[in-house]
Every structure is written in C-alpha cells, then in structure tokens.
C-alpha cells in the first residue's frame, strides 16, 4: 500500500495510538516523543464550529450504513480477523453513540441526572450509570479500564 497524506487530525490520532503502544512496551521516552508530535498535529487540526449534537448524526449514520460494512466485506475477503474485531467493536460502540444521542435529544440533561459518564479506554464504549461497570459489555475489559468523565 502506497504512502498517503493524512490530515493533521488523522496524524494526531496515529501519534496518540503509537504513544499508547510505546507505553505498553514500557518505552516512556518514545511515548513522550509521539505525544509531542501528536499534540502538535492536534493544534494544527481544523476546529469544528458545531453547535448541536444533531450535527453528529449524519456521520454516525454513514459509518453504520457504509463505513463499517465496507470494513466487514474487505476484511472477510482478506481473512483479516484483526480488522473484523475492530469493525465488530466499533460498530457496536457507534450504535451506542446513536442511541445515547437519541435519548439525550428526548430527555435532555435528565438523562445524566444522578448518573456518571464512563468511557472504556479499550473500545470507546460509553456508559451512563451511577457506578463504573464491572465489565465492558462490548469488549469485556475490566472496570479498571474505564475512565470517569
């Protein structure tokens, strides 16, 4: 596959992903260097002017209807189970985004009253609950992998 040019936003993501990989490999100096590069590209990235949660709906629908099915069919042909895993988790998490946004549109801040927000740092699952989930329902990561917002 040829080299391609990425947007600054994508480069910031690639670098934050490699930061985490270096942390897992216990290479703190390299982690810090990737973090520095990622932070630079995050500041270069185009900022959005979004005003409403509804602005997300179009992209979410596009991912669910086209983006993930395209990964699924390419990965099946290639027998790429890593990509299939990414697709399976990502599609479920994206469906959660869709349903959370639908509920927030109906209930407003009442949805969050008495609840906390937790994000699974392994798969991105968002939990709206008083206490941290014992196990991520999507990827089965333990409670310790949840970050409280």
């Amino acid at each position: 596959m040829d080299e391609r040019t990425y947007s600054s936003g994508a480069l910031s993501v690639i670098c934050s992903n490699l930061t985490k990989a270096c942390e897992k490999q216990m290479r703190p100096a390299e982690a810090e260097q990737f973090r520095t590069i990622g932070t630079y590209f995050a500041t270069q990235a185009t900022k959005s002017e979004a005003k409403a949660f509804a602005d997300l709906n179009g992209l979410i629908a596009q991912d669910l209807e086209q983006g993930y099915p395209q990964v699924a069919s390419a990965a099946e042909v290639a027998g790429d189970r890593g990509a299939l895993r990414c697709m399976t988790w990502g599609k479920k998490v994206t469906s959660i985004h869709k349903s959370v946004l639908a509920r927030y549109e109906k209930q407003g801040d009442a949805l969050l009253a008495g609840n906390n927000l937790f994000v699974c740092e392994a798969c991105g699952f968002i939990a709206i609950a008083p206490t941290v989930p014992e196990l991520c329902p999507i990827c089965k990561a333990p409670a310790s992998r949840f970050v409280k917002i």
Binding site: A10, V13, M26, Q44, E49, V71
Partner: protein
C-alpha cells in the same frame, strides 16, 4: 527483553525480591529497574505467585502488510471518527449543557479512530510503516513549532 510489573496485581513483599540476582525488583516506584534487569533472565516472572510480572521485548516481528482494500476502508472510517471527535470537542468547548456528554463522545471517537489507525497500518511503533510515516513528516515543510527533534529522536531509536 526485561521484566515489568503490573503493580495492581502485585501482592507485595515476596519472591521476586529473593530471586532477582541484581536487586532490580526492589524499587521505590514499584516498577522494575530496567537498567539493572538482565536481558532474558525472567527468573522473577516464573517465581511470582500473583502473575504480576511479565516480559517486555526490545524487538518485535515484522508483520505482513494488510490488504489495500482493508486499509482503505479502515482509513476512511478513521477520517470520519476524526471529524466526529472535532464536532464533539466543539460542543464540549461551547460550555453548553451536555458538555460532559460531548467530552465522553470526543474521547470515545478518539479511541475508535486510534483502533482504525492501529488495524490499518500503525500497530507497532517499530514497524517499517511507522518509520516511513516519520520520515515523510520529517521531509515535509512545516510551521516553526513542528517538533522536528522528537521525530529525529524516534527515527534514531526505533
């Protein structure tokens, strides 16, 4: 290859302290002193009753490249998640009610995007693909605050 400790699993004060020939397991931070750990020794890993010690490697295998179609599909999703993260960040900044929800969505989209980047091309920092990207970045024109030094250090050490 040297040992590392999962501090959350460690039940403290036991066999790795006795078995380690160099004292690398006994530190004030709870982590192994990598400078003292002997390459390939692994005695503490086998001795630990709590499975709290494991090995981290200095070298990783070269992986087969992904199919072009898989990379294309994953990277187009990556772009979509990047756009959604930016949208959610704008909502979080606006200070509106629901800013917390926006923050959660931004973080979640970042994780989804990272997963696409990892599965497409950038799983290993040491891979040829990661290094090719770093070289590409080093060769591009940039604004003054581009961290060229960090890119150079990575190319030298990975």
């Amino acid at each position: 290859m040297h040992a590392a400790r999962n501090v959350a699993l460690c039940t403290k004060d036991c066999l790795c302290l006795f078995i380690c020939p160099t004292g690398a397991t006994d530190t004030e931070t709870g982590q192994i002193d990598f400078t003292k750990c002997l390459d390939g020794c692994r005695l503490c890993v086998d001795a630990c009753p709590s499975h709290a010690l494991y090995l981290v490697f200095d070298r990783y295998p070269r992986k087969p490249a992904k199919e072009d179609k898989v990379v294309e599909a994953l990277e187009s999703l990556l772009d979509s998640k990047v756009a959604q993260e930016a949208l959610a960040e704008a909502l979080a900044r606006s200070g509106s009610a629901g800013a917390k929800l926006a923050k959660a969505l931004a973080m979640s989209n970042r994780i989804l995007a990272e997963d696409c980047a990892r599965e497409a091309r950038y799983m290993l920092p040491q891979s040829e693909q990661s290094k090719a990207l770093l070289r590409q970045l080093a060769g591009q024109p940039h604004t003054g605050d581009f961290p060229a030094e960090a890119v150079g250090k990575l190319l030298a050490s990975l």
